[in-house]
């Protein structure tokens, strides 16, 4: 099959949110000698760009965005290790570590933000829920994250967001990463009070925020 056709299929697998298909196409392509970077630039990333356009137009909705992001992640899971081996850097808009803070298990909003960011070209490390401050710090340092996103749904777990920022300061890396906070009880004034770099009320706001911050 000619390359163009393969790239088209890759784009379609993203548009239709088919993670198994994306992975399969990525694997086959790499095995037949097509470079991972080409797969991304001409195939999968083109697909995600198209998804972004359709969403902006109002033709695609959030569930489709999330499904596309899943397909994207699936392709990246196969391609990223190969790129690493080849010492090739792929273009990302930024690296984001995200999670829900300690003692808080609410995750749907955070997961939607993570998917939106993947769909918009960011590399996202989602640490899940009930995440200790030290785990956030460790991951930020490990992947050299540009952004750390902290989610809290309870007024009683919000103080963890403040704590993580203090821990970043103690570790001497506060200035190396932008910290954004979110969650239903979080407000702009809280974000300012704790010295966060930004706050967004929903996933769309988060994407816009990162475009401004980075």
């Amino acid at each position: 099959m000619d390359k163009e056709k393969i790239f088209e299929k890759m784009q379609l697998s993203i548009l239709e949110g088919e993670p198994e298909l994306s992975r399969e196409l990525a694997e086959k392509a790499v095995n037949s000698g097509i470079s991972p970077l080409e797969c991304l630039n001409n195939g999968f990333l083109k697909g995600i760009e198209e998804v972004g356009k359709l969403y902006a137009k109002g033709d695609y909705f959030l569930p489709e965005l999330v499904a596309s992001a899943e397909a994207m992640k699936s392709a990246l899971e196969l391609l990223d290790p190969i790129l690493k081996e080849q010492k090739t850097e792929r273009k990302v808009l930024g690296k984001v570590v995200i999670g829900t803070v300690l003692d808080d298990i609410h995750d749907i909003g955070k997961s939607i933000v993570a998917s939106m960011l993947v769909a918009n070209g960011y590399e996202v490390y989602d640490l899940g829920v009930n995440v200790k401050a030290s785990d956030f710090i460790d991951k930020v340092q490990e992947v050299k994250a540009d952004v750390l996103g902290l989610s809290a749904l309870l007024t009683t777990t919000m103080p963890q967001q403040k704590l993580v920022i203090e821990e970043l300061q103690k570790s001497g890396i506060r200035d190396k990463v932008k910290v954004i906070v979110g969650g239903a009880p979080v407000t702009q004034s809280w974000a300012q009070e704790i010295g966060a770099d930004g706050f967004a009320e929903d996933a769309i706001g988060a994407v816009a925020l990162l475009k401004n911050l980075l």
Binding site: L62, H106, A184
Partner: protein
């Protein structure tokens, strides 16, 4: 002595069904299938131990418990269908009897629309007390739920205790927080409440305090919340669990599928409560909804909410256990047209299906902002709903043949005795504006919002709730000091 019913309730006479009997059974059977084959996550060792002993199969690694249908049905049958939620003032007792609908406040917001300045600001302990004070005065409000706002000027580890104190200062109606989410805090709050009932046995007989918890959809519970309510069940204090499944995100996109998840998440913890203490009073709770398709965000209102909000009680009636349904709590950011639309639909639907409790009045922006005006305007909606749900009585007197014949063609009924006898049944507005146009102009275009503002200010200035007994606040301080020592620094 006859106890005067000081709380306005609705006994609907209209018959309204969203689901057929067969459909209710289908959803019930689907819920049983999910509980048996997939299970529900109960992230608490104590809870899992109890469930396993009672015949559930438990995976300790995933903390998922699978419930055999036999276990579910055997235990849920033990839950009482009727009981009271007591007020410190017995005139404010809520009788859950399967036929009557009550309105509670909504919570638990983080912002307040300041009654004096109009500013939207962070909520404090004083706001909790003031919200309760106004709710104490309004006879449409059956009890305080939430509380309305979070006492954010108090330390996090003691906050629910401070909130209980503030509520008790503001009202003598029943209090039901959704903020008691650990076993230790549960014990302290019950200790505080029992001071007012002469001990725990008194609290069990007259529960002036009960717990609501949030589930974590889909098919999950919160460990701390479970353990807090397990304490309530132990002492026979009423408790319930509120899933809020959002179609497309934490529930299937289809509403029937949403109801399956809602049922599983609301029912499974009640089974646990019955295993712990068979016959302990429990309630269903739910606030099912659908995401906004564009942003994935919580909407605070839409046709899906109204349908699900009405339908779920039909399922709860199948189990014969009272339901507290999320009602009102518009997503609108101001007390405007959208708030009106949301809150009428979301109140009317559950009342028409005879839902026991509507939770509740007073909040904006998806339960984030407390507004005194919204509280009063929501009560107006409750009153109108009451009138509608109580239907049209058709009998000899109401057919009014005698007076129709008497008045004859082209007469009028204004001065008739029959009119004077029945006119008080006609609804009268408390905040609805019906002034003639020019008068309205000359009064500065005063509408419902302005009238509600005046009323709220008057209540805040003039209403005095039933005071707490002498020495109670000192006792509360002692308990809070002890709790501070024990809970500080732990999580």
């Amino acid at each position: 002595m006859e106890k005067q019913q000081k709380i306005k309730s609705i006994v609907p006479t209209l018959n309204f069904e969203i689901l057929s009997r067969r459909e209710v059974i289908k959803i019930h059977e689907a819920a049983l299938e999910v509980m048996a084959e997939v299970g529900v996550q109960f992230p608490s060792k104590k809870a899992l131990d109890i469930l396993e002993d009672a015949g559930c199969s438990v995976d300790r690694k995933t903390q998922v418990a699978k419930f055999p249908p036999k276990v579910v049905m055997e235990y849920i049958k033990k839950a009482p269908s009727q009981y009271i939620l007591a007020g410190r003032n017995p005139d404010f007792d809520i009788h859950l009897d399967g036929n009557t609908c009550y309105l509670s406040t909504d919570g638990c917001g983080i912002l307040v629309s300041d009654i004096d300045t109009g500013e939207i600001r962070i909520s404090t302990k004083k706001d909790v007390e003031r919200a309760c004070l106004v709710a104490d005065y309004l006879d449409e409000i059956g009890y305080i739920w939430g509380p309305s706002v979070s006492a954010q000027d108090t330390p996090a580890h003691l906050r629910p205790l401070h909130e209980l104190e503030a509520c008790m200062l503001g009202t003598s109606k029943h209090i039901q927080p959704e903020t008691v989410i650990s076993e230790s805090v549960a014990r302290y709050t019950l200790k505080m409440a029992s001071l007012l009932t002469g001990g725990m046995e008194g609290l069990r007989k007259r529960p002036i305090f009960s717990f609501m918890q949030c589930a974590t959809d889909p098919l999950g519970q919160d460990g701390g919340a479970l353990e807090a309510s397990m304490v309530a069940a132990e002492y026979g204090i009423p408790t319930g669990f509120m899933p809020m499944p959002m179609s497309c995100a934490t529930a299937p996109a289809t509403l029937a599928g949403n109801l399956v998840v809602t049922t599983v998440d609301a029912l499974s913890p009640l089974v646990l409560m019955q295993i712990i203490n068979p016959g302990t009073p429990v309630f269903f709770a739910a606030a099912p909804t659908a995401i906004d398709l564009r942003t994935g965000a919580y909407t605070g209102g839409g046709p899906e909410d109204y349908l699900l909000g009405g339908a779920f009680n039909q399922i709860c009636q199948f189990y014969n256990i009272p339901l507290s349904m999320g009602a009102m709590a518009t997503g609108a950011k101001e007390p405007n047209w959208q708030a009106g639309v949301d809150n009428v639909f979301s109140t009317l639907m559950p009342v028409l299906t005879k839902t026991a409790i509507l939770t509740g009045a007073g909040m904006l922006n998806g339960s984030k902002i407390f507004s005194f005006q919204q509280l009063i305007m929501d009560c107006e909606i409750f009153n109108m709903t009451k009138k509608v749900a109580e239907g049209i009585i058709v009998n000899e007197e109401t057919l009014a043949l005698e007076v129709i014949k008497k008045v004859g063609p082209r007469g009028n009924y204004l001065a008739e005795k029959h009119t004077r006898k029945y006119m008080k049944d006609i609804w009268q507005p408390k905040v609805y504006d019906r002034t003639p146009y020019d008068q309205w102009l000359s009064q500065g275009k005063k509408g419902a919002y302005e009238i509600a503002t005046e009323k709220a200010k008057w209540i805040l200035e003039n209403h005095k709730p039933m005071p707490l007994e002498k020495g109670i606040l000192d006792e509360f301080s002692k308990i809070m000091a002890e709790a501070d020592e024990i809970l500080k620094g732990s999580h």
